[in-house]
Amino acid sequence: MTPAAVRASRQPDDIPQDAILQGEIQGMNVHSQDIASRAVGQSARSVRFVDVAKRFGSVAAVADVNLTIAPGQFVTLLGPSGCGKSTTLSMIAGLELPSQGHIYIGDRDVTTVPPADRDIAMVFQSYALYPHLTIFENIAFPLRAKRRRTTETEVTRKVTDAARMLGLDKLLARFPREISGGQRQRVALGRAMVRTPTIYLLDEPLSNLDQQLRVQMRSELKDLHQRLGATMLYVTHDQGEAMTLSDIIAVMSAGRIEQVGAPRELYDRPANLFVARFLGEPGMNILNGDIGDGRLRGQGVAIALPPTVKAGPGGLCAGIRPEDLVLCPIPEAELTGVVRTVEFLGSRCLMRADIGDTLVTAFLPAEVTTQPGETVGLKASYPGRTRWFDVASGLAVGH
């Protein structure tokens, strides 16, 4: 048997147990057993980063990444452009070599293994379809690699299967330039699926589609992940995609992983100011002031400190999500300020108000009659919704 065949025939029991059971990610315990168990019976593999860094010259694109992805998980690397998420994905693919650290797929150290020998499939942002080949040949391309030795009947069967699954059956004789963006995207997926890889890498696969198609493809991807049970790594700067698709999100910024966790966990309990501001549309309101008298006090700000939160030497700031703010009489208010704009969104209103020199956003019921210029009082709908951060380190200290 060829090494590839040996690898393919291995059972999932060679996946390190700790990766499945603990899903240990940067010391945070992620509850991934249910997700992992779904992958049992599939050939899904775990991915593990150990102290991985990538420098281009003197620029650190990725620094100190430690991340474990359990088999069968859908994990998204989310961050603003230039944060190192695509570089991280390229290192799993083997298209970039890490400057330091190790990458494991399953229990195999693949740090320097060529891309062809990693048993991964990748969908590129630009789709990277081969312009001189028909759709059929594009999808068949991975099967025609020498190392796979696929017979012609098998190629035809696999390509038609994948094409049927993605609704491409009628386009097989066409060339990439003759089909639409959404269809190209599906061909790229088909090319990835056709050889049932253990890991899918998806680099902003939906960003070139229009809004409607993006939402449609998003649910198709989710569906595909559930059917295939494969490990999927997804890169995006679109938090809506990240939230809806992922089992786990790793938020990245400036080459570092800021926080790893399930979407809800990241949203409700951001580990630091970056994640708090980055997640949510709009992001969390961050309010500054001085601590005194058991309160955070600033211009228009007076928020009682919960007993569990202790102020460090750098001081504290409070974070409140826009949807957690409600209007209240000014004497009871935690925030007092002047309304700048009120946008009617149908189901609710988005209000912007100047609290001191901080612009605070709040989602209010659709029927509010508040007008710009009015002075209003706001408070958290209940105290547990306010997050507290250490100003100096930016880290969350409690809620």
Binding site: A116, A121, A145, R148, R191
Partner: protein, 277 residues
């Protein structure tokens, strides 16, 4: 614009095109016609474009003189130099786009600079070098010089093309299970065909039509190229216009055939190089 003016415009365009065709094709057609006339019909008054009694005597004469060997020499020099220049130039063009070559800009400027030196200025020094190296008047002399002339052009031409090819195409092939070489061969080269063919066509025309380099670097009659052989032929046989024109026809045929076969790529390749380069 009214109907009449549009018609006049059309007619003018047509007339201009016809005139251009006559200027370009006239000599070739006249050469073909002359090559098929017997000696006493060549200067017949009034001149006739279609020969009364077409004859292949001039072609037979050329064969008797052994001109076909010069044809084969030319073909050999051209094919070897073009194949070599396109392979080397294409590889260099690719490397200059994809690999971190030190002093990349300087190298490209150097290539450009070399192209701008009139090759005749280098002819005599090169001859001296070739004599010293023992390459003068051998089968190697002309392929080396032709390839050297074509390589910079091939580098620029292919580099301009490779620069437009997204990196992801190769990366996709790598992930799909191919080696770097296979990825380039199966994914990049097919797309680069117009650029490669354009570079090859430039090289072909240069090597096939060259006269000066061929007379300077090669002396032996059995190493001669076709243009050199034809000039010698004229020198020996004075005003044997029929045979000379037959030679011209033979020499013109290969470029025309190649152009007709590859015209789709040539026009595409040149415009691509000029627009995207």
């Amino acid at each position: 614009m009214n109907q009449g003016m549009r018609l006049t415009g059309r007619a003018a365009l047509l007339a201009a095109s016809a005139l251009a065709s006559v200027v370009v094709l006239g000599p070739i057609i006249w050469a073909l016609s002359t090559s098929l006339k017997s000696d006493n019909h060549i200067f017949a008054v009034p001149p006739r474009l279609i020969p009364d009694e077409p004859t292949l005597m001039h072609f037979q004469r050329l064969v008797a003189e052994g001109v076909q060997w010069s044809f084969l020499n030319s073909a050999f020099y051209t094919v070897v130099s073009v194949a070599f220049a396109v392979a080397v130039g294409g590889t260099a063009g690719y490397a200059l786009v994809r690999y971190p070559v030190p002093a990349k800009r300087a190298l490209l400027v150097l290539f450009m600079g070399v192209m701008s030196i009139p090759s005749y200025a280098l002819l005599l020094p090169t001859q001296v070098i070739f004599v010293r190296l023992g390459i003068f008047d051998t089968r190697l002399a002309l392929p080396i010089l032709y390839a050297a002339h074509v390589i910079p052009f091939a580098v620029w031409m292919t580099r301009a093309h490779f620069a437009t090819v997204p990196r992801e195409l190769e990366q996709a092939a790598l992930v799909d299970g191919y080696s770097r070489f296979e990825a380039v061969w199966k994914v990049i080269i097919p797309g680069a065909r117009p650029a490669l063919i354009a570079a090859a066509a430039f090289g072909f025309l240069y090597a096939w039509n060259d006269y000066i380099t061929a007379t300077t670097m090669v002396e032996s009659p059995d190493l001669r190229t076709l243009p050199v052989a034809l000039i010698f032929f004229q020198g020996f046989h004075g005003r044997d216009w029929g045979a000379l024109m037959a030679g011209v026809v033979i020499a013109t045929l290969p470029p025309i055939v190649l152009f007709l076969v590859y015209r789709r790529y040539l026009i595409g390749g040149f415009s691509e190089g000029s627009v995207k380069g």
